[in-house]
């Protein structure tokens, strides 16, 4: 399985990679723009990502905008199944949470700091790990 971590902080990328690399082949993107590019390249390679961990506050293109572009690509090119996206962010305001699920069709939402137990609980809900 492949996962993409979109995170602008070096330490955040390092920690999340360490959590995921036993289950996934992990790529990293340092902003939303790179995340969209990585998503498109993975599809072009015929090896799309199964999971994206998406930070929201990132330079160039924020996580919600990037997710919107990814969903638009999926819709336009009829790419199925949709990639499962877990928001990993310091933002916890109501509008952002709701927008992530409704507009971005996020599969889950974790407020930083991301702890391994919480991450794996979300991965379990998404069907990536069993109890």
């Amino acid at each position: 399985m492949r996962a993409l971590i979109a995170e602008d902080e070096f330490l955040g990328r390092k920690v999340l990679s360490a959590f995921l690399n036993t289950l996934f082949e992990v790529d990293v993107a340092v902003n939303g723009k790179e995340a969209v590019t990585a998503f498109n390249i993975a599809h072009a390679e015929g090896r799309p990502y199964d999971l994206i961990l998406m930070d929201i506050m990132m330079p160039e293109l924020d996580g919600l905008e990037a997710l919107g572009q990814i969903r638009a690509e999926e819709h336009e090119k009829k790419l199925r199944p949709q990639v499962k996206v877990l928001m990993t962010t310091a933002l916890d305001d109501a509008k952002t949470v709701i927008r992530s699920f409704h507009d971005g069709e996020a599969a889950g939402y974790i407020v930083k700091p991301v702890r391994k137990e919480k991450l794996f609980a979300e991965l379990q809900k998404m069907g990536f790990v069993t109890e």
């Binding site: 109501a94 509008k95 709701i98 409704h102 069709e105 996020a106 599969a107 889950g108």
Partner: protein
């Protein structure tokens, strides 16, 4: 934050998701199953996701996931688009709103009702075939009371063909001059097909219904049964009694 999220969430439910869900249910009711489920999927996904993130609402998230699973089976064609399944889907969707409102207003959902809906969805979806009772098991008792035949339905859920056949058979067994009272006070869910079967007899026997409540009342009215089967005055909503 959670109070603000709850407030924002219910504002969105009222302004956005509920109208979307009503539109989806209208499509379902009109036979456009794929279109209806497509419309339902976005608001239900949002309710599942956001309630999973709201302290105290986690059970609503799990419940919504189960209703979504049933809808996905219908959408994929792994379940037939029968009137019973469409009715169950609509009931499941309506129950989501009941659950989130109960948690908001009372602090907890009606666990019994939530379990009952889950059970019947799983039974219809092939996950728990025994929930509606084994085929051949009796689902009603027939009693005579003041020149009336009381058909007391004893099974909690009436969805299967053998149950419908038993009820129809019990009505047909009565002399046509004997009024028949269908007592559904012990029933939790009653499929639209069962109501339709009974309505076909309503012109030939004098059939009335008592003990309507909850989901049974919903499917009774949704099937238009109030036009063909009278309710006792105490059971009818104001202006409804004939």
């Amino acid at each position: 934050m959670s109070d603000a999220l709850t407030e924002e969430f219910f504002a969105e439910v009222s302004d956005k998701y509920y109208p979307q869900v009503l539109e989806g249910l209208e499509h379902l009711g009109a036979g456009d199953v794929a279109g209806g489920i497509e419309i339902l999927s976005r608001p239900l996904h949002t309710i599942k996701g956001v309630t999973g993130f709201m302290p105290g609402f986690e059970s609503a998230s799990g419940f919504t996931h189960k209703v979504e699973s049933f809808l996905k089976k219908l959408q994929a064609g792994s379940l037939p688009h029968s009137p019973d399944n469409i009715s169950l889907a609509a009931h499941g969707v309506n129950s989501i709103f009941a659950v989130i409102e109960q948690i908001r207003d009372l602090g907890a959902p009606d666990q019994g009702e939530m379990d009952a809906v889950t059970e019947v969805l799983e039974a219809a979806g092939g996950g728990n075939a025994s929930a509606a009772g084994p085929a051949g098991a009796s689902c009603l008792l027939v009693e005579q009371e003041q020149n009336r035949a009381i058909l007391r339905v004893t099974a909690p859920r009436i969805h299967r063909k053998h149950q419908r056949d038993q009820i129809v058979g019990a009505i047909i067994a009565q002399p046509q001059e004997t009024p028949v009272v269908l007592d559904v006070s012990q029933v939790k869910t009653f499929g639209a097909s069962a109501w339709e079967d009974i309505s076909a007899l309503a012109g030939h026997w004098s059939i009335s219904v008592r003990g309507l409540a909850g989901a049974v009342r919903e499917t009774f009215h949704a099937a238009g049964m109030d036009a063909v089967m009278p309710l006792p005055p105490a059971e009818a909503a104001p202006g409804e009694a004939s």
